[in-house]
Symmetry: C2
Subunit: 430 residues, 2 copies
């Protein structure tokens, strides 16, 4: 029998308890033995009582979980970084393996957690931290283990994907779509970490750290949120070019240089990522041998996250039961290894650019002259009819160009008196 | 050091050799030790020599691989069922673990192979047998282990998907699309096992056997191929209803009854499966906890298949190196367990039906009367303008209806003298 202790009994925690009960017969077959929930801790005891567990399993003192020598696996589901960090490091210190869904913790304390796990020969699993029940962390560790990962393009944040879907399908403004997301429960009370790309960057930090074998800190990841996106550009890009806007988390290699960034970008409606709508997540991976792979599913919600947590519990339990846990590390951690992330100004991309100009002869020539001088080459160009207030929108798509060149060119163009308002620049991902 | 012997050095075999060489540094980190290719066997020695391996590794006698006591893992890549069966069972008998990409072998000899593996405490891995490098078998075994699988809908055959994509995008006939597939190398010299659904059924047999914990033989799987599909129905269904036709391999539970079938069916253009085009494969899985998950990638080709074979070799090598191989079975095999597959006539589905009728009053009433009598309820109906030869196409979509009821109704309708040619019936998957 494997004993587990669960700390944090919110939606995910109570669903984990429910699955371990409901699917106990198939789980027993997969593990080889019983998984026993020895203790569940929450500061609100009534939340645990609802799960129907006997009183002796219920506690509001997390130290009683950590200090229980019979508990093999600690499942940390309280979120946050301070207390959760204590719980995880303390569990490792006591020789217990850990399952956590905590993306903030894992992405920030990668080095500390995995060097401790390595030295204590315990395992720390964290499948639910990215894409909830989508088995992407396992795929990177195992199913794609033969590959050098060349790029990952992820839709990793359900809130922003829901908002962008609404803006696309119903032509809503960002503010209206955010309001709808809050009302329907697809956004948290304070959605700022979703909107500004921080949540996606934490998840990208985890995927990138696995793929490149050393910690890629969230601070190294370039970040742009979606709050300034206009439904006008979403509509133009779809109608004129067949593009859909997504908040993408990207890590990719270009000639051995590695770039990592989160930003709103266009993908073609023919790209599988374009059908990932509303609260769904997806991870599009290119490996040097397998080519393109995509994993898709619900990136949040009790059922989906609990599916990943229980899969981790099953795998760990099997390893503990057969005495194989800690014989080899789950995460390849080598403190001497460092992965250098390049500045995004050196990255190549295609761009969608919308200029708002005065209606005067020579405007197009001036703009394209400056772009040309900066080595930004135009692949297509639409000039719309003049609109109210004399502002003429000019839409351009570029060939591959350097981010730094594009930024310098746009800055120079925006300083011209022919430009009526700040030029919109969005990247295109193929 | 883990020693492996590879039998069969075609495209996949030589790519495996290449990956093990090219990515040896990351693979060594993941395994903990070196993977050494001790022997490679092929009846055509020149194919092995091209890989640059030293002469002492090269043989055309597969028994010299099986009889080498230092070889830990036998990689069977010759395909077919007779010799491959001998090789796999003989390897197990000698206590060697096995990696195979052989879907025909695994789906047919499930019981024999996994009961032998269980009793000899060795592992047989077969990730490449379904969807090549897409890590779907691992996902079912591990990442989704907390779930009861409720349905799997797969696009598992690249050849037919390529043909249907051509028929959809370029309005080609089946014959013309098949010719193109052959010319571009997306169809084998004899593509009949692809076209008639046999290949997809073998792969479905494997996915279903894993999901339901006992062998679901390919003979139990209902099968319809794509050779009779007309571009007319593909066009009608897309233009009128927003549907795309795919050859789907489906296993699903309805009130504890399990159905398994391969047939061409329509999916909505909003469904993620609709973007799976050309030679790509995808598996859409519903688990009771995780909800919907999709895994997507190239279902064939040396690189993709070799990615899966090498992932299997890595996982097995690690297990052998740390002495954990065979401590627990990879496939849950219990010979007492049987999964009953229901006759498809009891399955519920929605349908697309195209009648070709004479242009006479009362036709629609007669048809809908017979459908109604058989409890087949119509959700929408289009009657086209009369075409050459007086034949009038009537298109109908149904609500959920029993396959048996639909078949009986259509048989009765096709016997009427108002019907000009055999009615077309295709299922719709949601």
């Amino acid at each position: 029998m494997i004993n587990i202790g669960i700390i944090g009994c919110g939606t995910v925690g109570s669903t984990v308890i429910n699955i371990l009960d409901k699917n106990s017969s198939i789980i027993r077959k997969r593990v080889g033995c019983e998984i026993n929930i020895k203790k569940v801790c929450d500061k609100d005891l009534s939340r645990i009582r609802e799960s129907g567990l006997p009183e002796k399993c219920i506690t509001d003192d997390y130290m009683s979980v950590l200090n229980d020598p019979e508990i093999d696996i600690v499942v940390e589901l309280i979120g946050g970084k301070t207390l959760a960090n204590d719980i995880v490091l303390n569990s490792i210190e006591k020789g217990k393996s850990v399952v956590t869904a905590n993306k903030a913790l894992i992405s920030e304390n990668w080095d500390k957690i995995f060097s401790a796990a390595l030295s204590k020969k315990v395992l720390v699993y964290f499948e639910a931290s990215v894409g909830a029940g989508i088995p992407v962390i396992q795929a990177l560790h195992e199913g794609l283990a033969a590959n050098r990962i060349q790029s990952i393009v992820g839709i990793l944040n359900g809130t922003t994907n829901f908002i962008l879907t609404k803006m696309t399908d119903e032509n809503m403004s960002f503010e209206a779509a955010l309001k709808t997301a809050c009302k329907l429960g697809f956004a948290e009370a304070d959605p700022s970490l979703d909107i500004d790309g921080s949540d996606a960057a934490q998840k990208l930090s985890i995927l990138a750290s696995i793929s490149f074998g050393s910690h890629i800190s969230v601070n190294k990841i370039y970040k742009e949120g979606i709050s300034r996106v206009s439904p006008l550009d979403i509509k133009y890009a779809r109608d004129k070019f067949g593009f859909v806007l997504k908040l993408l988390a990207i890590v990719k290699t270009e000639d051995k240089r590695i770039f990592a960034a989160v930003y709103p970008a266009f993908v073609s409606t023919e790209h599988p990522l374009s059908t990932v709508e509303n609260e769904y997540n997806a991870v599009y991976i290119n490996g040097d041998s397998v080519g393109d792979i995509m994993l898709y599913g619900k990136g949040a919600g009790g059922g989906s996250a609990a599916s990943a947590v229980v899969a981790d519990i099953i795998d760990l339990s099997r390893n503990i039961y057969y005495g194989t846990a800690g014989k080899f590390p789950y995460v390849l951690y080598d403190k001497r290894m460092k992965t250098k992330i390049q500045d995004i100004s050196k990255m190549n991309s295609k761009y969608y650019i919308r200029f708002s100009t005065v209606d005067r002869p020579g405007v197009l020539s001036k703009i394209s002259g400056i772009l040309g001088k900066r080595h930004v080459s135009i692949s297509s160009c639409f000039q719309e009819e003049r609109q109210r207030g004399q502002s003429v929108p000019i839409l351009m798509l570029t060939h591959l160009a350097k981010e730094g060149d594009v930024k310098r060119a746009i800055k120079e163009i925006d300083d011209l008196d022919i430009i009526k308002s700040k030029t919109v620049v969005l990247r295109i991902v193929e």
